[in-house]
């Protein structure tokens, strides 16, 4: 028999379809079983492929031979028309007793073959495994990369319906982003501190070598100047950062050396919760009293949110570093608040928030 593109099918022979997986291996499968997969079915009908070894249908990359075997088992069972619903259900329940790795592969492969019933079955099994677990547990069980940056987790939400709670949440995010940046800045400043010290030592030396009597006075002067700059600097720089930040989704380059060349680390100046420059583009031109009130509202909101998810304490925002400096002193008492029935939107659609870090 010649092996032309169309093999002659003898009526008493079973028809087979030839399938090739991404690794190159080819199998032949009973026609009715293979045709149960919509993708294969379409290939056969539209392109005529699959009827012989040389013209095997190439399966998507996500289907490897072992998983293909599983899928074909599934198809072989379900394509038989006479089965009762109970039989099918029993088969399905046994079928999905697989480890998580296999389940994921199966979902992926079934999806690429467009085998919807199997996708639903495996999805439901995966959902059952995910349900109730914390993000860390899920990441561990499924080896998930944590590929969202901290900034991305704090991106402002689109508030299409002008929900006041989303507005508050975005403000809270903006503040958290700023804290993040400030912390980054502090890291850089510590690196730069050496320069500052050196300079002062040099100055000191030059004073000593130059005019004797002025040494102490001069130094005191210098320090005073530095102190004054301390208070002015963070404001300006924060606003710079703030304005730079509110382009949608763009991650600011936090690691760029700051403009704080002579910056002495002082907790109170930077970490004051009463930020005067908050949400440059959301609330322009608010007077300080209004801003304070907004800040209080935001803190209150944060507290309410955090009391709803006490377990989120350890989540994304506990960048919990070992700062020797005073931590951010927001209302640090995590007392649980009574949630009334109206707290319906206390959960939002992306990041839940942790409680602000308490004093260490």
């Amino acid at each position: 028999m010649s092996e032309g593109p169309m093999a002659i099918v003898k009526p008493e022979m079973k028809s087979y379809i030839w399938l090739q997986t991404a690794d190159g291996s080819i199998q032949q499968v009973e026609e009715e079983v293979a045709m149960f997969c919509p993708m294969i079915c379409r290939e056969v009908l539209q392109t005529g492929m699959g009827s012989s070894k040389n013209y095997a249908i190439s399966l998507p990359q996500r289907v490897n031979p072992a998983i293909l075997g599983l899928i074909l088992d599934y198809c072989r069972f379900h394509q038989v028309p006479g089965r009762s619903n109970k039989e099918r259900k029993t088969f399905d329940e046994k079928f999905i007793r697989l480890d998580t790795k296999k389940l994921c592969e199966l979902t992926s492969a079934a999806d690429s073959l467009q085998l919807r019933p199997l996708v639903d079955l495996t999805s439901r099994a995966l959902a059952r495994m995910i349900e109730g677990k914390t993000p860390e547990e899920i990441r561990e069980t499924f080896h998930l990369p944590d590929d969202l940056t901290e900034e991305e987790k704090l991106e402002p939400l689109r508030n299409m319906t002008d929900d006041p709670r989303i507005r508050l949440l975005n403000r809270l995010y903006a503040r958290k982003r700023k804290e993040l940046k400030d912390r980054e800045k502090m890291k850089n400043i510590e690196i730069e501190e050496e320069h500052v010290d050196e300079r002062s030592v040099d100055d000191l030396l030059s004073y000593i070598n130059g005019g004797d009597g002025d040494s102490k006075g001069g130094r005191a002067n210098k320090n005073k100047k530095k102190n004054r700059r301390k208070k002015d600097q963070p404001r300006n720089s924060s606003s710079n950062y703030e304005n730079g930040n509110h382009k949608n989704g763009e991650v600011d380059d936090v690691s760029s050396p700051s403009k704080f060349s002579k910056f002495q680390a002082s907790a109170s100046a930077i970490f004051s919760p009463k930020l005067d420059f908050d949400d440059g583009d959301i609330d322009d031109e608010l007077d300080p009293a209004m801003k304070e009130e907004l800040d209080r509202e935001v803190e209150d909101f944060a507290r309410r949110l955090n009391s709803v998810w006490p377990e989120r304490m350890h989540d994304i925002l506990s960048l919990g570093q070992e700062r020797r400096l005073a931590p951010i002193s927001m209302n640090g008492n995590g007392s649980l608040q009574r949630c009334t029935g109206d707290e319906l939107a206390d959960w939002q659609f992306t990041t839940p928030l942790t409680h602000p870090r308490r004093a260490k």
């Binding site: 990369p145 944590d146 689109r158 939002q348």
Partner: protein, 254 residues
């Protein structure tokens, strides 16, 4: 090729097989369909694929009630057009006032079922305007901020009616009542039940009827002063969500 099974040995590096992390967003979304909305939102920070999948329209469409279009029409005068399904869900989860502020309706955020609350202002109460018998009190203990307070009366009837495109399902109706008058003293809630009397003489009767002929009656004695109790009137079943269901109910403590 005999090497077809080579990458399934135990020595295979982690990256060679697709894990949940490599699932395309559409697959992740298929998984999310089987989780409840608060869970979906929690998972949105897991990683990029989950974040994308958690805003997928088909995930949220499966959470909305089937007749959400009719619900939106009934509840909102104008509703923004281009909202994604997730935002629609969120919007419906907020307590929305209807019928001139006398009622509030919202979706339960976890289950997506409709909840509706009718204020005392939306009920027809015997002699409500007669200050000898009734007073309206502002209070924090009601989501409508005001309740009707009965001083004294021989009998009365409270009637209510609501017409709403309820999605299919079984619904329960409750009357929320409290004996005694609550207040705050030194920041604490106290309930003054000095003037509560007569309720134990005869039980209170609750009735419910729907436009398609379902009825329910229940009776109970009110004898637990000091707290808000939901008295179950009865249940009704909505089968056809395209028709609006009218419910009449009343409370007749004779």
């Amino acid at each position: 090729m005999g090497s077809s099974f080579s990458f399934f040995t135990d020595t295979a590096p982690v990256s060679s097989y697709p894990s949940l992390g490599d699932l395309p967003e559409s697959c992740v979304a298929s998984v999310l369909v089987y989780l409840d909305p608060p869970e979906i939102c929690r998972l949105a920070i897991l990683n990029r694929a989950f974040r994308g999948a958690s805003s997928a329209d088909f995930v949220w469409e499966s959470k909305l009630p089937l007749n959400y279009g009719s619900v939106i029409k009934r509840v909102f005068d104008d509703f923004p057009e281009k909202l994604c399904k997730r935002d629609i869900y969120a919007r419906l989860c907020r307590p929305n006032s209807i019928d001139g502020g006398t009622k509030k309706v919202w979706l339960d955020k976890t289950t997506g079922v409709i909840c509706l609350s009718i204020s005392s202002n939306g009920l027809a109460i015997t002699r409500i305007d007669d200050r000898r018998y009734w007073r309206r009190i502002t209070t924090e203990e009601s989501r409508f901020c005001s309740v009707a307070y009965l001083q004294q009366i021989w009998w009365f009837e409270v009637d209510g009616e609501v017409e709403f495109p309820f999605p299919s399902g079984t619904y329960s109706l409750f009357f929320r009542l409290q004996l005694g008058r609550a207040g705050k003293r030194f920041g604490r809630r106290v309930c003054n039940s000095e003037h509560v009397h007569g309720w134990d003489k005869k039980p209170v009767q609750f009735q419910l009827s729907t436009s398609d002929g379902q009825k329910a009656i229940s009776q109970c004695s009110l004898n637990d002063p000091g707290k808000w109790i939901h008295h179950h009137v009865g249940d009704f079943v909505v089968e056809n969500p395209s028709a609006t269901t009218k419910i009449k109910f009343f409370n007749d403590p004779d």
